[in-house]
C-alpha cells in the first residue's frame, strides 16, 4: 500500500508489531498482535493503544489523534508482512466496539481495490452467514486471506452458510 502510514517495527515471529501515532493528543504507542486461534491457520488480529503503566493494550478507546486512516493503513501493512511469513494464514478480525468495526469497514471500503489484488475478504454481520465483502454492507466480523487460499476458505464458509440458511 502506497498510502501514508507509520514506520513500524515487528518481532522476528511477526506476531507483534509496534508503531507510534502522532497527532494533537501526542505520541501514542500502538501494538498489533496476531494470535493463533484453536483453528488451523486462523489468527486473530488485535490492535490498540499500549498503556505504559498497566502494560496492557486498550482496544476500546478512540484516541482521536486525527490519523485513523493512517493507523489503519499501518495495521494493514502488518497484515501484508504477517501473511508474507504465513501465506496460509486466515486473519479473523472483529471490532471491540461498533464504532471500531465501522472504522474497519470504512478502511476496507477505501482500500478495497488494492486489497483485492492480493487478498480476499469475507464478511458477516452475525457470524453465521458469510459473503465476499460488498462495499456498503454492514459486517461485524471479517476473514482475510491471500487469494491462493480463497477457494479453500470459501468451501468452508459455504458449508456454514448452507447449515445456517438451508434452501
Amino acid at each position: 500500500m502506497h498510502l501514508p502510514k507509520y514506520r513500524c517495527t515487528g518481532n522476528e515471529s511477526k506476531s507483534l508489531f509496534e508503531f507510534f501515532s502522532e497527532g494533537p493528543h501526542g505520541r501514542i504507542r500502538k501494538l498489533v498482535e496476531f494470535t493463533r486461534t484453536k483453528f488451523a491457520n486462523v489468527y486473530n488480529l488485535g490492535f490498540g493503544d499500549f498503556d505504559e503503566s498497566s502494560k496492557c493494550i486498550n482496544d476500546i478507546v478512540i484516541t482521536n489523534n486525527g490519523d485513523s486512516m493512517k493507523v489503519l493503513t499501518t495495521v494493514a501493512s502488518t497484515v501484508y508482512d504477517f501473511t508474507a511469513a504465513y501465506p496460509k494464514a486466515i486473519i479473523f478480525a472483529t471490532g471491540s466496539t461498533k464504532s471500531r468495526t465501522r472504522l474497519y469497514r470504512i478502511g476496507i471500503n477505501r482500500h478495497l481495490i488494492e486489497i483485492q489484488r492480493d487478498f480476499v475478504i469475507f464478511g458477516s454481520n452475525n457470524y453465521l452467514i458469510w459473503e465476499e465483502f460488498v462495499p456498503g454492507n454492514e459486517y461485524n466480523a471479517f476473514f482475510l486471506t491471500k487469494k491462493e487460499n480463497q477457494q479453500a476458505l470459501w468451501r468452508q464458509l459455504a458449508k456454514v452458510n448452507r447449515q445456517n440458511h438451508p434452501q
Partner: protein, 52 residues
Amino acid sequence: MATTGKSKSTKSSTIVVKDMSHLEGRIYFPEKLRKANEALSKLNFPQWEESH
C-alpha cells in the same frame, strides 16, 4: 532495547525487525481471543494438528 536493524521489504512495506522480547510471552487480547474461538467453533473449522 536491541534493534537487529534487519529490514525486510515486502510488496507493500518495509518493517524493521526488532527485539520485542519484553513484550512477548503473553496474549494481549485474551477476551477477544476467547470470543474469536467461540465464534469460530460454530464454523466447524479444522483445528490445528497436534504437531503444531
